[in-house]
């Protein structure tokens, strides 16, 4: 790839005019190869017809399949069984789902959910609309975790010393080991958990450590609670609704973390403008690796992770934080950014906010707090509380001390709950070797993974949808977890194992949790209400033994004096980040997550080294080239992905790949970068060396698929332009739209409901949760890396990312694209068998049983949203997975075209219920899966014939435009243009 010519083209040397939006460097380079690639819709297939032998084979195969299809159709339907209950549960209406409030625990935090249950099978998870941490939205992990429940590779049996054992056998072994520990006050007992906020589990562990005072409880999670440069004694809770100006110092608050959903809701509320005069917030981001938070920023600078501290110090100095910070110098190139951000912060005292990176040293967090305190933001846009997670250990320190105890031979009994420390622990600790020195090793986990393999005992853990429990959400609200199904693989809950260690035998998880809450909640009715709501409203935990301080009371521990920034280390900087889809690897065996394109890069099924364009030029590497990264004598080999906007000399690595023991999906996918990660520098380290190996490695990114041929798919206006000429500023960005009467057909009159959708690009963060929600709702199959590489991904909704501006610091815009449900649908005109036709409500219906697979419709679709089931993608063989499927949506077979239906099953349900009640469908009765999951409320669906519906109101906005509307397709989905509220002092345009 010739970056020099790309730069020239961008600089206006070529034939690009105005603002140019591009999706990939390949597209920008406009090479012949890329042109050829894009020329064919399905690159591996489309050219086959030009090859005479291929044509003959094709006709032969078609003839045979036609004949076989004819014969196949002559069979009778297979016999189906009806299996009713013996005793039907109350409230259950066969054929109708029930919804229960529960929560997903992740990294110690609760992610509140509402689970859809079809006849005892949880099939889909939504956010709990009443819970303050969700307000109805979810993140990608919440959506995908239902598939983990049915994971066929979960461990199913208790294993002891290599043999299959019973639960009572395990209890007996534990009792033996525990009684030995009781004799020595638990001196040799260690418990290793992930971070825990659950009051009931904390109570069990406290009971244990109180009776055995020398026993120790350690916590380790490679993502949550892992800190570099010390932990702070406080945790921030932000209120983005109240913040006019936000400065993020390497914090991806829209893309990751326990508060992501609520933060996106609040942040989005300041972006979903109603009129051109509405004031938006303004976001400044300084970060090393582009994140979706950075993509949302008006002003973003790429600085090395090590330099964030200096940027923070410079901002602190500029806003006048007392102390030694005045005059501190930011990293080179950040001066302008710091000046503008500081001026903006000062102009918005009490209404601004500085957000410090979770993965930055304590000093940066303390600086951010000092700035917020100085600006009077503390108490308005942010409150500082005691951490929600119990005994907020510095995870790295915790596991380090555990390993040193293990190495010293002090540990006789180690019980590991969840997690896979053999795979995830810092490489320098050599956890696996230390584990060998422990007398009795017990692992409780969902998979028989690396850690289980090195343990004497392994107990299969229950999934949270099979468990009773409790946990706190990021804001401290106590959230209850109730099971949706009995353990499918005989999994045991953490609390049950802990109770057994405490000698409380025979108690189920439900008894233990209910008993714990009985006292503080009082009545059975209160307990039932809390279960129904999913949380305990006045979030204060009961006076449980040694429960942590109630987080809602600002503990306000005084911050330590902010330290001065350490001198950055030169050479290449390696930055570790949790993967946006597989996290630390725990979602590795989840096909949905492997296939979900990662935000911005749109890579699937892989981990890469993200590098900037300048770094790539220096190294002389292209996408898919493998580089070797060496740091402190450790090395890993990873393929390169050039990510415009990555800080120069920084290499971004995502955790969680290269697993070998997790399961059929995860094993052997991608490269493991944990070997490079040390306890001293779990998040970033300087001074690394990089060498080009000359090898290449195939990567599958969807970013180059379905090119829009430069037809202005996204529209971005500045707040200033939009205020002055709202309509014109947006309209002039696209070609003229043909008038409605310019048609040979008679215009169809939509008299009843007229469904439509509006997507606010200004609110969309590009997180991708709509994609997973759609996959879960619509039974979309997983197809694998090779098929993705062939551009055959099956997702009905995709999130396109467009870059604009320079190669080194581009701005980014996301655009979710589904079937636009065109009124003049080009696909319908070309279908020879009438398999795609229009409904009277304006839906572009896809009739699977009529489709013969010509793919003409897909060829003729200008939006490229039709998906063809080339092979038998749906898994009809794995019994476990079948239970997850939505019974209201057909599981499609091979040779059939499919696409977004606007969740027609939800439309049908709402329509039937409305008719049964003798009324019209109300606005808001129908919520599509993508809309429901969206944490930014960027998607709105409703009846366009109702002038008061929310979607009609959105479409009345001046910034509303149709995608490729100049083709006269009359899309029912429309987009609301991005309005950039840039700081005039920094705006170059």
């Amino acid at each position: 790839m010739d970056f020099e010519s790309i730069r020239k083209r961008l600089a206006g040397d070529g034939n690009l005019t105005g603002k140019a939006y591009w999706r990939s460097l390949e597209e920008l380079a406009d090479s012949k190869e890329f042109g050829d690639y894009m020329h064919r819709e399905f690159p591996s297939q489309a050219s086959e017809f030009s090859d005479p032998a291929g044509r003959r084979t094709f006709l032969k195969l078609m003839g045979a399949s036609l004949a076989l299809a004819g014969v196949g159709a002559c069979t009778r339907q297979p016999v189906e069984k009806l299996v009713p209950y013996v005793r039907q549960p109350e409230e259950l209406i066969p054929g109708r789902p029930l919804f229960y409030a529960t929560a997903m625990p992740l990294g110690g935090y609760a992610y509140p959910l509402l689970a859809e249950n079809h006849m005892g099978r949880p099939t889909k998870l939504e956010g709990n609309p009443e819970h303050p941490a969700s307000l109805g939205g979810t993140d990608v992990f919440g959506q995908a975790s239902v598939l983990n429940l049915y994971d066929p590779d979960r461990s199913r049996v208790i294993k002891g010393h290599g043999e299959i054992k019973t639960w009572s056998g395990f209890i007996a072994a534990m009792q033996g080991a525990m009684s030995a520990q009781r004799a020595v006050n638990g001196a040799g007992l260690r418990i290793l958990t992930e971070p825990v906020s659950s009051p009931s589990i904390v109570a069990q562990i406290t009971e244990l450590t109180q009776s055995l005072p020398d026993a120790k409880w350690h916590q380790w999670d490679p993502v949550f609670g892992t800190v570099q440069g010390g932990a702070t004694s406080f945790a921030p809770i932000y209120d983005f609704k109240a913040a006019d100006v936000v400065v993020s110092l390497d914090e991806d608050f829209l893309g990751h973390g326990a508060g992501q959903v609520r933060y996106s809701k609040d942040f989005g509320s300041r972006r979903r403008i109603g009129t051109p005069n509405d004031e938006q917030n303004r976001l400044y981001v300084a970060e090393a690796i582009p994140t979706i938070t950075g993509a949302k920023a008006e002003h973003r600078i790429a600085v090395r992770a090590q330099d964030i501290h200096a940027v923070a110090a410079a901002i602190a100095g500029a806003v006048g934080v007392s102390g030694s910070m005045a005059g501190a110098e930011a990293a080179a190139g950040a001066e302008e950014f710091v000046k503008a951000a500081a001026a903006d912060l000062l102009a918005h005292r009490g209404r601004s906010l500085v957000v410090a990176g979770e993965r930055q040293p304590a000093a940066v967090k303390e600086l951010a707090r000092a700035i917020n305190d100085a600006l009077g933001n503390s108490g308005t846009t942010v409150k500082y509380v005691a951490p929600v997670v119990a005994s907020p250990a510095d995870g790295v320190a915790s596991i380090t001390s555990l390993v040193s105890d293990m190495n010293a031979g002090k540990v006789d009994l180690l019980v590991i709950f969840d997690g896979n420390p053999v795979y995830t622990a810092p490489a320098d600790l050599n956890f696996a070797e230390a584990l060998g020195k422990v007398g009795l090793r017990v692992h409780v986990g969902m998979h028989f993974d690396d850690t289980a393999e090195l343990s004497h005992w392994h107990v299969p853990a229950a999934h949270y949808l099979e468990s009773w429990g409790d946990a706190k959400s990021f804001d401290g609200t106590v959230t209850l977890i109730q099971p949706l199904i009995a353990p499918i693989y005989d999994g045991k809950q953490t609390i049950e194992v802990l109770a057994a260690m405490n000698g409380n035998l025979g108690k189920t998880g439900s008894d233990l949790v209910k008993e714990f809450w009985a006292e503080s909640l009082g009545t059975e009715a209160a307990w039932r209400k809390a279960l129904h709501d999913g949380f305990i409203p006045n979030a204060n935990a009961p006076a449980a033994p040694a429960a942590p301080a109630a987080p809602n009371e600002p503990a306000n521990p005084a911050p330590a004096a902010p330290a001065a920034p350490a001198a950055p280390v030169d050479g290449y900087e390696v930055v570790f980040r949790p993967d946006p889809t597989v996290l630390d690897g725990r979602f590795g065996n989840n096909g949905w997550m492997q296939e979900l394109p990662k935000p911005l890069s749109k890579l699937t099924w892989n981990s890469v080294a993200y590098i900037g364009v300048a770094t790539a030029e220096k190294l002389g590497v292209q996408n898919e080239d493998v580089i070797e990264i060496a740091s402190n004598g450790r090395r890993v080999r990873v393929p390169v992905w050039i990510m415009p906007g990555t800080a120069t000399n920084t290499i971004g690595l995502h955790l969680g790949y290269g697993q070998t023991k997790l399961g059929r999906v995860a094993n052997g996918v991608g490269m493991n970068v944990y070997p490079l990660r040390t306890s001293m520098a779990p998040w970033f380290v300087g001074g690394a060396t990089v060498t080009k190996t000359g090898e290449t490695y195939m990567l599958a990114s969807t970013q180059t698929h379905f090119n829009m041929e430069g037809r202005n798919p996204v529209r971005v206006v500045t707040a200033e332009e939009y205020k002055h000429e709202p309509k014109e500023s947006v309209e002039k960005l696209g070609p003229e739209v043909p008038p409605r009467d310019m048609t040979l057909y008679q215009n169809f009159e939509y008299t009843g409901n007229k469904w439509g959708m509006a997507i606010d690009l200004n609110a969309c963060t590009g997180c991708g949760v709509c994609v997973v929600a759609c996959v879960a709702e619509n039974n979309i199959p997983v197809i694998g890396k090779e098929q993705i590489k062939k551009s055959r991904e099956m997702h009905w909704i995709r999130v396109d990312t467009y870059f604009e501006g320079s190669l080194d610091a581009p701005s980014m815009v996301h655009q979710p694209v589904t079937c636009q449900q065109c009124e003049n649908a080009p696909c319908e005109q070309v279908c020879p068998v009438g398999a795609t036709v229009h409904s009277d409500e304006g839906l572009n219906d896809m009739v699977y049983n009529r489709c013969v697979g010509t793919r003409y419709c897909s060829n003729n679709c200008p939006y490229k949203v039709r998906r063809f089931n080339f092979l038998l993608y749906s898994d009809f063989a794995t019994e476990e997975i079948k239970a997850q499927r939505n019974p209201d949506v057909t599981v499609r077979s091979r040779g059939v075209m499919e696409k977004c239906t606007y969740c027609v099953q939800r439309i049908s349900h709402a329509r039937i219920d409305a008719k049964t009640e003798g009324r019209d469908i109300r606005d808001g009765d129908i919520v599509t899966a993508c809309q429901q999951a969206c944490p930014s409320d960027a998607i709105m669906f409703g009846n366009l014939n109702d002038p008061d519906s929310k979607v009609s109101k959105l479409k009345e906005q001046e910034r509303n435009y149709g995608l490729l509307e100049d083709l006269n397709t009359r899309p029912r989905t429309s987009y609301l243009a991005v309005v950039r509220n840039a700081n005039p002092a920094l705006d170059k345009a």
Partner: protein, 225 residues
């Protein structure tokens, strides 16, 4: 071959007739095969219409509905609330059969199911293809009688599928519901007989129940998703 030698005829004259006949024959055969497939697909062999089905218990609707006079909804509880009419749990059978016919050999599978907490495995009689999403709730609400689709269930000692359940059969009503509609109060009445002025009554009910236009009722996505 010499120019003067008479060229012997390879094909006799009758070959012309044979060729024509075989052309016609092939065409006829193709048409015949087409007709066979067409007829077969609509035959009761393919649709399973009027076919008795082996069940774990030879349950008689004739006895329970026609004889005793149980309402459909006593067992099919969710018919007004859900897409699925509901198959009764064993408990429903035992409501009566814990007192009646407690020793009858024919009821042993029911008692065994209740005793062992093992569900009965019924064979589906009215089985639509998996890409069809039929909904009982709305049909019952809009005045489609049980017997209209399920036939004279009160006279069926053993259950069978009374109608072909082909798409053209569905569309017959979706195109012109007035032909079959009855007052809501008569939906569960097995003895209901359509009046002579059915079309008039149907048209009136169609307006009263706000039944959608055939344009909507024949949209693919109304039944297929």
């Amino acid at each position: 071959m010499g120019a003067d030698s008479a060229m012997s005829q390879i094909f006799p004259k009758s070959a012309n007739a044979t060729a024509r006949m075989s052309l016609a024959g092939v065409l006829t055969l193709v048409l015949f095969l087409g007709w066979v497939v067409f007829t077969l697909m609509r035959s009761s062999w393919a649709t399973k219409q009027n076919e008795f089905v082996e069940q774990p218990i030879q349950f008689s609707h004739a006895h329970h509905v026609g004889g005793i006079g149980l309402d459909c909804r006593y067992c099919h509880t969710s018919v007004e609330k859900s897409s699925f009419a509901g198959i009764p749990p064993t408990k429903t059978c035992m409501n009566c059969h814990s007192q009646l016919w407690t020793n009858a050999q024919i009821l042993e599978p029911v008692r065994a199911s209740f005793r062992n907490d093992q569900p009965l495995n019924w064979t589906r009689v009215n089985d639509l293809p998996d890409f069809v999403y039929f909904n009982h709730q709305i049909h019952v609400k809009q005045g489609v009688g049980c017997a209209t689709c399920h036939g004279p269930v009160d006279k069926m000692p053993l259950m069978y599928q009374a109608k072909p359940l082909l798409m053209e059969w569905c569309l017959d009503c979706h195109r012109a519901p007035e032909k079959y509609l009855r007052p809501r109060s008569e939906v569960f009445n097995m003895a209901y007989v359509a009046p002579d002025n059915q079309l008039e009554l149907g048209t009136q009910l169609k307006a009263e129940y706000k039944i959608a236009d055939p344009k909507h009722m024949t949209s693919c996505s109304v039944c297929h998703r």
